[in-house]
Point group: C2
Amino acid sequence: MIKDVLAGDVRAIAKMISRAEAAKPEDRDALAEVFRHAGKAHVIGLTGVPGSGKSTLAGVLGLEIRKSGRTVGIVAIDPSSPFSGGAILGDRLRMTGLAGDDGVFIRSMATRGAMGGLARASLEAVDVLDAAGFDIVLIETVGVGQDEVDIVQAAHTVVVVSAPGLGDEIQAIKAGVLEIADIHVVSKSDRADAAATAADIRGMLGLGPTRHEDDWQVPVVPTSAEAGEGIEDLVAAMDAHRKHLSDTGAIEQRRRDIIGMRVLKTAEDIIRKDFKGNREQLAVLIDRVMAREIPPREAAERLLESFKKS
Amino acid sequence: MIKDVLAGDVRAIAKMISRAEAAKPEDRDALAEVFRHAGKAHVIGLTGVPGSGKSTLAGVLGLEIRKSGRTVGIVAIDPSSPFSGGAILGDRLRMTGLAGDDGVFIRSMATRGAMGGLARASLEAVDVLDAAGFDIVLIETVGVGQDEVDIVQAAHTVVVVSAPGLGDEIQAIKAGVLEIADIHVVSKSDRADAAATAADIRGMLGLGPTRHEDDWQVPVVPTSAEAGEGIEDLVAAMDAHRKHLSDTGAIEQRRRDIIGMRVLKTAEDIIRKDFKGNREQLAVLIDRVMAREIPPREAAERLLESFKKS
Protein backbone atom coordinates (compact mmCIF):
# COMPACT_ATOMS: atom_id res chain seq x y z
CA MET A 1 0.00 0.00 0.00
CA ILE A 2 2.93 2.35 0.69
CA LYS A 3 4.00 1.83 -2.92
CA ASP A 4 0.52 2.81 -4.09
CA VAL A 5 0.58 5.94 -1.94
CA LEU A 6 3.98 6.91 -3.33
CA ALA A 7 2.64 6.31 -6.84
CA GLY A 8 -0.19 8.74 -6.12
CA ASP A 9 -3.00 6.17 -6.12
CA VAL A 10 -6.10 8.01 -4.94
CA ARG A 11 -7.67 5.11 -3.05
CA ALA A 12 -4.42 4.27 -1.27
CA ILE A 13 -4.00 7.94 -0.27
CA ALA A 14 -7.55 8.08 1.13
CA LYS A 15 -7.04 4.84 3.07
CA MET A 16 -3.71 5.96 4.50
CA ILE A 17 -5.25 9.23 5.73
CA SER A 18 -8.04 7.24 7.37
CA ARG A 19 -5.33 5.22 9.13
CA ALA A 20 -3.77 8.45 10.39
CA GLU A 21 -7.17 9.42 11.78
CA ALA A 22 -7.81 6.02 13.37
CA ALA A 23 -4.30 5.91 14.89
CA LYS A 24 -4.18 2.16 15.43
CA PRO A 25 -0.87 0.71 16.67
CA GLU A 26 -0.62 -1.69 13.71
CA ASP A 27 -0.52 1.27 11.26
CA ARG A 28 2.40 3.04 12.93
CA ASP A 29 5.08 1.50 10.76
CA ALA A 30 3.22 2.44 7.59
CA LEU A 31 2.82 6.05 8.76
CA ALA A 32 6.50 6.16 9.75
CA GLU A 33 7.36 4.95 6.24
CA VAL A 34 5.14 7.69 4.77
CA PHE A 35 6.96 10.26 6.89
CA ARG A 36 10.32 9.04 5.55
CA HIS A 37 9.13 9.81 2.02
CA ALA A 38 7.63 13.21 2.81
CA GLY A 39 9.41 16.56 2.91
CA LYS A 40 9.29 17.77 -0.66
CA ALA A 41 5.97 19.60 -0.89
CA HIS A 42 5.47 23.29 -0.25
CA VAL A 43 3.04 23.25 2.68
CA ILE A 44 0.71 26.26 2.80
CA GLY A 45 -1.49 27.08 5.80
CA LEU A 46 -4.68 28.93 4.90
CA THR A 47 -6.76 30.42 7.68
CA GLY A 48 -9.23 33.17 8.43
CA VAL A 49 -12.17 33.92 10.67
CA PRO A 50 -15.62 32.54 9.89
CA GLY A 51 -17.08 34.56 7.04
CA SER A 52 -13.70 35.51 5.57
CA GLY A 53 -14.37 33.42 2.50
CA LYS A 54 -11.33 31.18 2.94
CA SER A 55 -13.13 27.97 1.88
CA THR A 56 -14.11 29.57 -1.42
CA LEU A 57 -10.59 30.89 -1.80
CA ALA A 58 -9.14 27.41 -1.18
CA GLY A 59 -11.11 26.06 -4.13
CA VAL A 60 -10.16 28.89 -6.47
CA LEU A 61 -6.55 28.71 -5.34
CA GLY A 62 -6.53 24.99 -6.09
CA LEU A 63 -7.64 25.70 -9.66
CA GLU A 64 -4.98 28.39 -10.10
CA ILE A 65 -2.21 26.10 -8.83
CA ARG A 66 -3.36 23.48 -11.33
CA LYS A 67 -3.13 26.08 -14.11
CA SER A 68 0.57 26.51 -13.28
CA GLY A 69 0.95 22.79 -13.99
CA ARG A 70 1.48 21.81 -10.37
CA THR A 71 -0.56 19.33 -8.32
CA VAL A 72 -2.26 20.23 -5.05
CA GLY A 73 -3.54 18.36 -2.02
CA ILE A 74 -5.96 20.07 0.37
CA VAL A 75 -6.50 19.10 4.01
CA ALA A 76 -9.54 20.94 5.39
CA ILE A 77 -9.94 20.87 9.17
CA ASP A 78 -13.63 20.57 9.77
CA PRO A 79 -15.24 22.61 12.48
CA SER A 80 -17.91 19.98 12.84
CA SER A 81 -19.36 18.12 15.75
CA PRO A 82 -17.18 16.50 18.41
CA PHE A 83 -19.90 13.84 18.55
CA SER A 84 -21.00 13.08 15.03
CA GLY A 85 -17.99 13.99 12.91
CA GLY A 86 -18.65 15.33 9.44
CA ALA A 87 -17.16 16.62 6.24
CA ILE A 88 -18.96 19.82 5.33
CA LEU A 89 -16.04 21.77 3.91
CA GLY A 90 -14.78 18.88 1.81
CA ASP A 91 -18.17 18.45 0.22
CA ARG A 92 -18.34 22.14 -0.51
CA LEU A 93 -14.90 22.16 -2.09
CA ARG A 94 -15.79 19.26 -4.33
CA MET A 95 -18.30 21.52 -6.02
CA THR A 96 -15.76 24.10 -7.17
CA GLY A 97 -14.67 22.48 -10.41
CA LEU A 98 -11.80 20.49 -8.97
CA ALA A 99 -13.67 17.18 -9.01
CA GLY A 100 -12.42 14.56 -11.43
CA ASP A 101 -8.92 16.05 -11.69
CA ASP A 102 -6.18 13.60 -10.63
CA GLY A 103 -3.86 16.48 -9.84
CA VAL A 104 -6.05 17.48 -6.92
CA PHE A 105 -6.89 15.61 -3.75
CA ILE A 106 -9.21 17.08 -1.12
CA ARG A 107 -9.70 15.61 2.30
CA SER A 108 -11.59 17.04 5.20
CA MET A 109 -10.66 15.96 8.72
CA ALA A 110 -13.40 15.75 11.31
CA THR A 111 -12.62 17.31 14.66
CA ARG A 112 -12.89 14.79 17.47
CA GLY A 113 -13.74 16.70 20.59
CA ALA A 114 -11.89 16.34 23.84
CA MET A 115 -10.00 13.15 23.11
CA GLY A 116 -8.68 14.62 19.86
CA GLY A 117 -5.33 14.10 18.30
CA LEU A 118 -6.56 16.41 15.55
CA ALA A 119 -3.21 18.14 15.10
CA ARG A 120 -1.27 14.87 14.92
CA ALA A 121 -3.72 13.28 12.48
CA SER A 122 -3.94 16.38 10.28
CA LEU A 123 -0.18 16.69 9.99
CA GLU A 124 0.12 12.98 9.17
CA ALA A 125 -2.47 13.58 6.43
CA VAL A 126 -0.17 16.33 5.11
CA ASP A 127 2.68 13.76 5.13
CA VAL A 128 0.58 11.35 3.08
CA LEU A 129 -0.16 13.96 0.39
CA ASP A 130 3.45 15.14 0.47
CA ALA A 131 4.79 11.58 0.07
CA ALA A 132 2.25 10.96 -2.71
CA GLY A 133 4.03 13.65 -4.67
CA PHE A 134 1.66 16.61 -4.55
CA ASP A 135 3.69 19.75 -5.24
CA ILE A 136 1.68 21.93 -2.92
CA VAL A 137 -0.26 20.85 0.17
CA LEU A 138 -2.81 23.31 1.54
CA ILE A 139 -3.95 23.02 5.16
CA GLU A 140 -7.14 24.96 5.68
CA THR A 141 -8.37 25.71 9.23
CA VAL A 142 -10.77 28.15 10.77
CA GLY A 143 -8.69 30.87 12.41
CA VAL A 144 -10.14 30.44 15.88
CA GLY A 145 -9.07 28.00 18.54
CA GLN A 146 -5.69 27.10 19.98
CA ASP A 147 -5.29 23.74 18.24
CA GLU A 148 -6.49 25.19 14.94
CA VAL A 149 -3.97 28.04 15.06
CA ASP A 150 -1.22 25.56 15.99
CA ILE A 151 -2.08 23.36 13.02
CA VAL A 152 -1.98 26.14 10.45
CA GLN A 153 1.40 27.21 11.81
CA ALA A 154 2.79 23.81 10.87
CA ALA A 155 3.11 25.20 7.34
CA HIS A 156 6.05 26.71 5.50
CA THR A 157 3.89 29.62 4.38
CA VAL A 158 0.90 30.92 6.35
CA VAL A 159 -1.81 32.82 4.46
CA VAL A 160 -4.36 34.72 6.59
CA VAL A 161 -7.58 35.74 4.86
CA SER A 162 -9.52 38.82 6.00
CA ALA A 163 -12.79 40.03 4.56
CA PRO A 164 -14.20 43.55 4.63
CA GLY A 165 -17.38 44.32 6.52
CA LEU A 166 -17.39 41.72 9.29
CA GLY A 167 -18.90 42.49 12.69
CA ASP A 168 -17.13 43.64 15.84
CA GLU A 169 -17.03 40.26 17.51
CA ILE A 170 -15.37 38.76 14.43
CA GLN A 171 -12.88 41.62 14.32
CA ALA A 172 -11.85 40.92 17.90
CA ILE A 173 -11.29 37.27 17.11
CA LYS A 174 -9.32 38.16 14.01
CA ALA A 175 -6.57 39.66 16.16
CA GLY A 176 -5.55 36.13 17.15
CA VAL A 177 -4.34 35.11 13.71
CA LEU A 178 -3.23 38.31 12.01
CA GLU A 179 0.27 38.10 13.41
CA ILE A 180 1.05 34.62 12.14
CA ALA A 181 0.65 35.64 8.48
CA ASP A 182 3.45 35.36 5.93
CA ILE A 183 0.94 36.64 3.40
CA HIS A 184 -2.26 38.58 4.00
CA VAL A 185 -5.22 38.21 1.69
CA VAL A 186 -8.12 40.65 1.64
CA SER A 187 -10.97 38.72 0.07
CA LYS A 188 -14.07 40.16 -1.59
CA SER A 189 -11.88 42.90 -3.05
CA ASP A 190 -14.74 43.93 -5.36
CA ARG A 191 -16.44 45.48 -2.31
CA ALA A 192 -16.05 49.21 -1.78
CA ASP A 193 -14.79 48.79 1.81
CA ALA A 194 -12.05 46.27 0.87
CA ALA A 195 -9.46 49.03 0.42
CA ALA A 196 -10.02 50.18 4.01
CA THR A 197 -9.54 46.61 5.28
CA ALA A 198 -6.28 46.34 3.33
CA ALA A 199 -5.13 49.71 4.70
CA ASP A 200 -5.91 48.54 8.28
CA ILE A 201 -3.77 45.45 7.81
CA ARG A 202 -0.93 47.44 6.23
CA GLY A 203 -1.12 49.82 9.21
CA MET A 204 -0.85 46.93 11.62
CA LEU A 205 2.19 45.43 9.88
CA GLY A 206 5.33 46.66 11.55
CA LEU A 207 3.50 47.26 14.81
CA GLY A 208 4.27 44.81 17.57
CA PRO A 209 6.07 41.47 17.36
CA THR A 210 5.57 39.08 14.48
CA ARG A 211 7.25 35.76 13.89
CA HIS A 212 9.38 37.26 11.12
CA GLU A 213 12.90 37.69 12.36
CA ASP A 214 14.19 37.71 8.80
CA ASP A 215 13.57 40.47 6.26
CA TRP A 216 10.48 39.09 4.53
CA GLN A 217 8.07 41.90 3.69
CA VAL A 218 4.60 40.53 4.40
CA PRO A 219 2.47 41.37 1.34
CA VAL A 220 -1.22 42.25 1.42
CA VAL A 221 -2.94 40.66 -1.60
CA PRO A 222 -6.48 41.72 -2.56
CA THR A 223 -8.48 38.89 -4.15
CA SER A 224 -11.96 38.35 -5.46
CA ALA A 225 -12.85 34.69 -5.84
CA GLU A 226 -15.97 35.62 -7.78
CA ALA A 227 -14.27 37.99 -10.21
CA GLY A 228 -11.24 35.69 -10.32
CA GLU A 229 -9.00 38.62 -9.41
CA GLY A 230 -5.76 38.50 -7.46
CA ILE A 231 -5.52 34.70 -7.38
CA GLU A 232 -2.49 34.72 -9.70
CA ASP A 233 -0.90 37.34 -7.44
CA LEU A 234 -1.51 35.12 -4.44
CA VAL A 235 0.19 32.14 -6.10
CA ALA A 236 3.09 34.43 -7.04
CA ALA A 237 3.35 35.62 -3.42
CA MET A 238 3.34 32.01 -2.16
CA ASP A 239 6.11 31.13 -4.61
CA ALA A 240 8.09 34.23 -3.64
CA HIS A 241 7.81 33.30 0.04
CA ARG A 242 9.04 29.81 -0.63
CA LYS A 243 11.99 31.19 -2.58
CA HIS A 244 12.71 33.63 0.24
CA LEU A 245 12.72 30.80 2.80
CA SER A 246 15.21 28.76 0.81
CA ASP A 247 17.40 31.68 -0.34
CA THR A 248 17.84 32.94 3.22
CA GLY A 249 18.04 29.50 4.77
CA ALA A 250 15.07 30.44 6.99
CA ILE A 251 13.37 27.24 5.84
CA GLU A 252 15.62 25.22 8.19
CA GLN A 253 14.47 27.03 11.32
CA ARG A 254 10.86 26.81 10.21
CA ARG A 255 11.17 23.07 9.63
CA ARG A 256 12.69 22.68 13.12
CA ASP A 257 9.86 24.68 14.69
CA ILE A 258 7.25 22.61 12.89
CA ILE A 259 8.84 19.32 13.93
CA GLY A 260 9.21 20.48 17.53
CA MET A 261 5.51 21.30 17.59
CA ARG A 262 4.61 17.97 15.99
CA VAL A 263 6.65 16.00 18.51
CA LEU A 264 4.90 17.79 21.36
CA LYS A 265 1.42 17.27 19.88
CA THR A 266 2.23 13.61 19.33
CA ALA A 267 3.41 13.23 22.92
CA GLU A 268 0.13 14.74 24.11
CA ASP A 269 -1.72 12.25 21.96
CA ILE A 270 0.25 9.33 23.43
CA ILE A 271 -0.49 10.52 26.96
CA ARG A 272 -4.18 10.87 26.15
CA LYS A 273 -4.42 7.32 24.82
CA ASP A 274 -2.42 5.97 27.74
CA PHE A 275 -4.95 7.59 30.06
CA LYS A 276 -7.83 6.01 28.25
CA GLY A 277 -6.16 2.61 28.56
CA ASN A 278 -5.63 3.12 32.26
CA ARG A 279 -9.18 3.65 33.48
CA GLU A 280 -8.89 1.86 36.80
CA GLN A 281 -6.07 3.96 38.13
CA LEU A 282 -7.73 7.08 36.76
CA ALA A 283 -10.98 6.20 38.56
CA VAL A 284 -9.17 5.86 41.90
CA LEU A 285 -7.43 9.20 41.40
CA ILE A 286 -10.66 10.91 40.35
CA ASP A 287 -12.27 9.65 43.56
CA ARG A 288 -9.52 11.32 45.56
CA VAL A 289 -9.87 14.57 43.60
CA MET A 290 -13.67 14.42 44.01
CA ALA A 291 -13.11 14.19 47.78
CA ARG A 292 -10.76 17.19 47.40
CA GLU A 293 -7.97 15.19 49.09
CA ILE A 294 -5.64 15.99 46.20
CA PRO A 295 -5.76 18.68 43.49
CA PRO A 296 -5.96 17.79 39.76
CA ARG A 297 -2.24 18.54 39.38
CA GLU A 298 -1.24 15.83 41.85
CA ALA A 299 -3.53 13.33 40.13
CA ALA A 300 -1.93 14.25 36.79
CA GLU A 301 1.57 13.82 38.21
CA ARG A 302 0.69 10.40 39.62
CA LEU A 303 -0.72 9.29 36.31
CA LEU A 304 2.46 10.42 34.58
CA GLU A 305 4.44 8.52 37.23
CA SER A 306 2.52 5.37 36.38
CA PHE A 307 3.21 6.03 32.72
CA LYS A 308 6.89 5.92 33.61
CA LYS A 309 6.66 2.34 34.82
CA SER A 310 4.71 1.07 31.81
CA MET B 1 -3.52 35.48 50.79
CA ILE B 2 -5.64 32.30 50.74
CA LYS B 3 -7.65 33.76 53.61
CA ASP B 4 -8.23 36.92 51.60
CA VAL B 5 -9.38 34.91 48.60
CA LEU B 6 -11.78 32.92 50.75
CA ALA B 7 -13.07 36.19 52.24
CA GLY B 8 -13.80 37.41 48.71
CA ASP B 9 -11.15 40.13 48.60
CA VAL B 10 -11.11 41.41 45.03
CA ARG B 11 -7.39 42.12 44.85
CA ALA B 12 -6.48 38.74 46.31
CA ILE B 13 -8.79 37.03 43.80
CA ALA B 14 -7.22 38.89 40.88
CA LYS B 15 -3.70 38.03 42.08
CA MET B 16 -4.54 34.37 42.58
CA ILE B 17 -5.94 34.10 39.05
CA SER B 18 -2.75 35.71 37.73
CA ARG B 19 -0.82 33.01 39.58
CA ALA B 20 -2.94 30.33 37.88
CA GLU B 21 -2.04 31.92 34.53
CA ALA B 22 1.68 32.20 35.36
CA ALA B 23 1.79 28.60 36.67
CA LYS B 24 4.97 29.00 38.71
CA PRO B 25 6.01 26.02 40.86
CA GLU B 26 6.04 28.12 44.05
CA ASP B 27 2.30 28.86 43.66
CA ARG B 28 1.22 25.24 43.39
CA ASP B 29 0.46 24.81 47.08
CA ALA B 30 -1.69 27.94 47.12
CA LEU B 31 -3.67 26.77 44.09
CA ALA B 32 -4.07 23.31 45.65
CA GLU B 33 -5.42 25.00 48.78
CA VAL B 34 -7.86 27.02 46.62
CA PHE B 35 -9.03 23.78 44.98
CA ARG B 36 -9.71 22.25 48.42
CA HIS B 37 -12.09 25.12 49.15
CA ALA B 38 -13.87 25.07 45.79
CA GLY B 39 -16.80 22.89 44.78
CA LYS B 40 -19.82 24.87 45.92
CA ALA B 41 -20.55 27.17 42.97
CA HIS B 42 -22.89 26.37 40.11
CA VAL B 43 -20.53 26.49 37.12
CA ILE B 44 -22.20 27.56 33.88
CA GLY B 45 -20.52 27.30 30.47
CA LEU B 46 -21.69 29.89 27.96
CA THR B 47 -20.69 29.50 24.34
CA GLY B 48 -21.76 30.36 20.82
CA VAL B 49 -20.28 31.12 17.43
CA PRO B 50 -18.85 34.55 16.65
CA GLY B 51 -21.72 36.94 16.11
CA SER B 52 -24.14 35.00 18.32
CA GLY B 53 -24.19 37.82 20.84
CA LYS B 54 -22.95 35.70 23.74
CA SER B 55 -20.67 38.41 25.18
CA THR B 56 -23.60 40.81 25.43
CA LEU B 57 -25.71 38.04 26.92
CA ALA B 58 -23.01 37.29 29.52
CA GLY B 59 -23.25 40.87 30.77
CA VAL B 60 -27.05 40.94 30.89
CA LEU B 61 -27.12 37.51 32.51
CA GLY B 62 -24.71 38.74 35.17
CA LEU B 63 -27.10 41.58 36.02
CA GLU B 64 -30.08 39.22 36.18
CA ILE B 65 -28.25 36.81 38.51
CA ARG B 66 -27.43 39.77 40.76
CA LYS B 67 -31.15 40.69 40.83
CA SER B 68 -31.88 37.25 42.30
CA GLY B 69 -29.54 38.17 45.14
CA ARG B 70 -26.77 35.84 44.10
CA THR B 71 -23.16 36.71 43.29
CA VAL B 72 -21.50 35.88 40.00
CA GLY B 73 -17.95 35.44 38.72
CA ILE B 74 -17.27 35.51 34.99
CA VAL B 75 -14.23 33.95 33.30
CA ALA B 76 -14.07 35.06 29.65
CA ILE B 77 -11.70 33.12 27.42
CA ASP B 78 -10.25 35.66 25.08
CA PRO B 79 -9.81 34.82 21.43
CA SER B 80 -6.95 37.24 21.23
CA SER B 81 -3.43 37.03 19.93
CA PRO B 82 -1.15 34.10 20.76
CA PHE B 83 1.65 36.68 20.69
CA SER B 84 0.44 39.82 22.37
CA GLY B 85 -2.24 38.58 24.77
CA GLY B 86 -5.19 40.84 25.39
CA ALA B 87 -8.42 41.35 27.23
CA ILE B 88 -10.99 42.60 24.76
CA LEU B 89 -14.03 40.80 26.08
CA GLY B 90 -13.33 41.69 29.68
CA ASP B 91 -13.14 45.35 28.83
CA ARG B 92 -16.37 45.11 26.90
CA LEU B 93 -18.14 43.41 29.79
CA ARG B 94 -17.00 46.06 32.20
CA MET B 95 -19.14 48.51 30.29
CA THR B 96 -22.42 46.68 30.85
CA GLY B 97 -23.36 48.15 34.20
CA LEU B 98 -21.69 45.50 36.33
CA ALA B 99 -18.71 47.69 37.23
CA GLY B 100 -18.43 48.75 40.86
CA ASP B 101 -20.58 45.88 42.17
CA ASP B 102 -18.75 43.68 44.70
CA GLY B 103 -21.07 40.79 43.90
CA VAL B 104 -19.58 40.51 40.43
CA PHE B 105 -16.04 39.66 39.34
CA ILE B 106 -15.06 39.56 35.68
CA ARG B 107 -11.77 38.19 34.44
CA SER B 108 -10.70 37.60 30.90
CA MET B 109 -8.01 35.02 30.20
CA ALA B 110 -5.66 35.62 27.31
CA THR B 111 -5.05 32.68 25.02
CA ARG B 112 -1.38 31.79 24.84
CA GLY B 113 -0.82 30.14 21.52
CA ALA B 114 0.90 26.82 21.10
CA MET B 115 2.46 26.51 24.53
CA GLY B 116 -0.94 27.12 26.13
CA GLY B 117 -2.22 25.60 29.29
CA LEU B 118 -5.34 27.66 28.66
CA ALA B 119 -7.75 24.98 29.83
CA ARG B 120 -5.81 24.28 33.03
CA ALA B 121 -5.43 27.99 33.87
CA SER B 122 -9.06 28.81 33.07
CA LEU B 123 -10.38 26.02 35.25
CA GLU B 124 -8.10 27.08 38.09
CA ALA B 125 -9.55 30.60 37.68
CA VAL B 126 -13.00 29.03 38.10
CA ASP B 127 -11.70 27.37 41.31
CA VAL B 128 -10.56 30.74 42.63
CA LEU B 129 -13.97 32.36 42.07
CA ASP B 130 -15.71 29.28 43.44
CA ALA B 131 -13.55 29.25 46.58
CA ALA B 132 -14.09 33.00 46.96
CA GLY B 133 -17.75 32.24 47.46
CA PHE B 134 -19.38 33.33 44.19
CA ASP B 135 -22.70 31.51 43.89
CA ILE B 136 -22.50 31.19 40.14
CA VAL B 137 -19.37 31.07 37.99
CA LEU B 138 -19.83 31.68 34.27
CA ILE B 139 -17.17 30.44 31.82
CA GLU B 140 -17.58 32.17 28.48
CA THR B 141 -15.76 30.84 25.40
CA VAL B 142 -16.15 31.23 21.68
CA GLY B 143 -17.77 28.06 20.38
CA VAL B 144 -15.04 27.18 17.92
CA GLY B 145 -11.85 25.27 18.59
CA GLN B 146 -11.15 22.01 20.33
CA ASP B 147 -9.68 23.48 23.52
CA GLU B 148 -12.44 26.06 23.73
CA VAL B 149 -15.19 23.43 23.43
CA ASP B 150 -13.40 21.30 26.05
CA ILE B 151 -13.25 24.22 28.46
CA VAL B 152 -16.93 25.08 28.24
CA GLN B 153 -17.78 21.44 28.86
CA ALA B 154 -16.05 21.66 32.22
CA ALA B 155 -19.28 23.23 33.47
CA HIS B 156 -22.25 21.73 35.30
CA THR B 157 -24.62 23.45 32.87
CA VAL B 158 -23.73 24.29 29.26
CA VAL B 159 -25.63 27.11 27.54
CA VAL B 160 -25.22 27.38 23.75
CA VAL B 161 -26.23 30.67 22.16
CA SER B 162 -27.44 30.81 18.56
CA ALA B 163 -28.43 33.94 16.66
CA PRO B 164 -30.75 34.21 13.69
CA GLY B 165 -29.44 35.36 10.33
CA LEU B 166 -25.81 34.26 10.39
CA GLY B 167 -24.05 33.21 7.20
CA ASP B 168 -23.50 29.70 5.87
CA GLU B 169 -19.94 29.36 7.06
CA ILE B 170 -21.00 30.26 10.60
CA GLN B 171 -23.90 27.80 10.42
CA ALA B 172 -21.49 25.00 9.50
CA ILE B 173 -19.28 25.84 12.45
CA LYS B 174 -22.27 25.99 14.76
CA ALA B 175 -22.82 22.27 14.32
CA GLY B 176 -19.78 21.64 16.51
CA VAL B 177 -21.30 22.99 19.68
CA LEU B 178 -25.05 22.47 19.34
CA GLU B 179 -24.91 18.97 20.77
CA ILE B 180 -23.18 19.89 24.01
CA ALA B 181 -26.03 22.17 25.12
CA ASP B 182 -28.00 21.60 28.31
CA ILE B 183 -29.86 24.79 27.44
CA HIS B 184 -30.21 26.47 24.05
CA VAL B 185 -30.58 30.22 23.78
CA VAL B 186 -31.77 31.96 20.64
CA SER B 187 -30.52 35.53 20.97
CA LYS B 188 -31.86 38.59 19.17
CA SER B 189 -35.36 37.17 19.59
CA ASP B 190 -36.82 40.54 18.54
CA ARG B 191 -35.78 39.68 14.97
CA ALA B 192 -38.43 38.26 12.64
CA ASP B 193 -36.29 35.23 11.72
CA ALA B 194 -35.59 34.24 15.33
CA ALA B 195 -38.61 31.91 15.44
CA ALA B 196 -37.23 29.93 12.50
CA THR B 197 -33.84 29.57 14.22
CA ALA B 198 -35.59 28.30 17.37
CA ALA B 199 -37.64 25.86 15.28
CA ASP B 200 -34.45 24.56 13.60
CA ILE B 201 -32.87 23.88 16.97
CA ARG B 202 -36.02 22.19 18.29
CA GLY B 203 -36.04 20.04 15.15
CA MET B 204 -32.46 19.02 15.74
CA LEU B 205 -33.09 18.04 19.37
CA GLY B 206 -33.83 14.36 19.58
CA LEU B 207 -31.90 13.68 16.39
CA GLY B 208 -28.57 11.97 16.83
CA PRO B 209 -26.58 11.43 19.99
CA THR B 210 -26.32 14.05 22.71
CA ARG B 211 -24.53 13.83 26.02
CA HIS B 212 -27.85 13.52 27.86
CA GLU B 213 -28.29 9.98 29.01
CA ASP B 214 -30.73 11.10 31.66
CA ASP B 215 -34.19 12.49 30.99
CA TRP B 216 -33.42 16.21 30.96
CA GLN B 217 -35.47 17.97 28.30
CA VAL B 218 -33.16 20.52 26.70
CA PRO B 219 -35.09 23.80 26.59
CA VAL B 220 -34.82 26.42 23.84
CA VAL B 221 -34.96 29.89 25.42
CA PRO B 222 -35.48 32.97 23.21
CA THR B 223 -33.77 36.08 24.59
CA SER B 224 -33.28 39.67 23.57
CA ALA B 225 -30.47 41.36 25.46
CA GLU B 226 -31.55 44.73 24.11
CA ALA B 227 -35.24 44.38 25.00
CA GLY B 228 -34.28 42.59 28.23
CA GLU B 229 -36.54 39.70 27.30
CA GLY B 230 -36.09 36.06 28.20
CA ILE B 231 -33.19 36.64 30.60
CA GLU B 232 -35.31 35.69 33.62
CA ASP B 233 -36.38 32.54 31.77
CA LEU B 234 -32.74 31.70 31.12
CA VAL B 235 -31.85 32.03 34.81
CA ALA B 236 -34.89 29.86 35.64
CA ALA B 237 -33.71 27.22 33.12
CA MET B 238 -30.20 27.26 34.63
CA ASP B 239 -31.65 26.79 38.11
CA ALA B 240 -33.94 24.01 36.89
CA HIS B 241 -30.99 22.22 35.29
CA ARG B 242 -28.99 22.43 38.47
CA LYS B 243 -31.93 21.03 40.43
CA HIS B 244 -32.30 18.25 37.87
CA LEU B 245 -28.64 17.32 38.21
CA SER B 246 -28.85 17.04 41.97
CA ASP B 247 -32.32 15.40 42.11
CA THR B 248 -31.27 12.65 39.69
CA GLY B 249 -27.75 12.32 41.06
CA ALA B 250 -26.42 13.07 37.54
CA ILE B 251 -24.25 15.77 39.10
CA GLU B 252 -21.86 13.07 40.37
CA GLN B 253 -21.11 11.68 36.92
CA ARG B 254 -20.73 15.17 35.53
CA ARG B 255 -18.26 16.10 38.26
CA ARG B 256 -16.28 12.94 37.53
CA ASP B 257 -16.18 13.73 33.81
CA ILE B 258 -15.04 17.27 34.49
CA ILE B 259 -12.29 16.15 36.85
CA GLY B 260 -11.14 13.44 34.42
CA MET B 261 -10.83 16.08 31.72
CA ARG B 262 -9.00 18.45 34.06
CA VAL B 263 -6.49 15.80 35.09
CA LEU B 264 -5.76 15.04 31.45
CA LYS B 265 -5.39 18.72 30.50
CA THR B 266 -3.08 19.23 33.48
CA ALA B 267 -0.96 16.25 32.46
CA GLU B 268 -0.63 17.74 28.98
CA ASP B 269 0.46 20.99 30.54
CA ILE B 270 3.09 19.24 32.67
CA ILE B 271 4.45 17.42 29.61
CA ARG B 272 4.60 20.66 27.65
CA LYS B 273 6.60 22.43 30.37
CA ASP B 274 8.87 19.42 30.78
CA PHE B 275 9.61 19.60 27.05
CA LYS B 276 10.47 23.25 27.29
CA GLY B 277 12.86 22.52 30.14
CA ASN B 278 14.53 19.79 28.16
CA ARG B 279 15.71 21.66 25.07
CA GLU B 280 18.97 19.83 24.53
CA GLN B 281 17.46 16.41 24.23
CA LEU B 282 14.66 17.84 22.11
CA ALA B 283 17.18 19.45 19.74
CA VAL B 284 18.97 16.12 19.23
CA LEU B 285 15.69 14.36 18.51
CA ILE B 286 14.53 17.12 16.15
CA ASP B 287 17.78 16.69 14.21
CA ARG B 288 17.02 13.00 13.76
CA VAL B 289 13.44 13.74 12.66
CA MET B 290 14.70 16.45 10.28
CA ALA B 291 16.98 13.80 8.72
CA ARG B 292 13.86 11.56 8.51
CA GLU B 293 15.72 8.84 10.46
CA ILE B 294 12.84 8.62 12.92
CA PRO B 295 9.21 9.76 12.68
CA PRO B 296 7.74 12.34 15.12
CA ARG B 297 6.03 9.54 17.07
CA GLU B 298 9.33 7.89 17.94
CA ALA B 299 10.79 11.24 19.03
CA ALA B 300 7.73 11.82 21.22
CA GLU B 301 8.06 8.36 22.78
CA ARG B 302 11.73 8.94 23.55
CA LEU B 303 10.96 12.25 25.17
CA LEU B 304 8.31 10.60 27.30
CA GLU B 305 10.86 7.91 28.17
CA SER B 306 13.26 10.57 29.37
CA PHE B 307 10.41 12.11 31.37
CA LYS B 308 10.16 8.78 33.15
CA LYS B 309 13.67 9.09 34.54
CA SER B 310 13.30 12.66 35.78
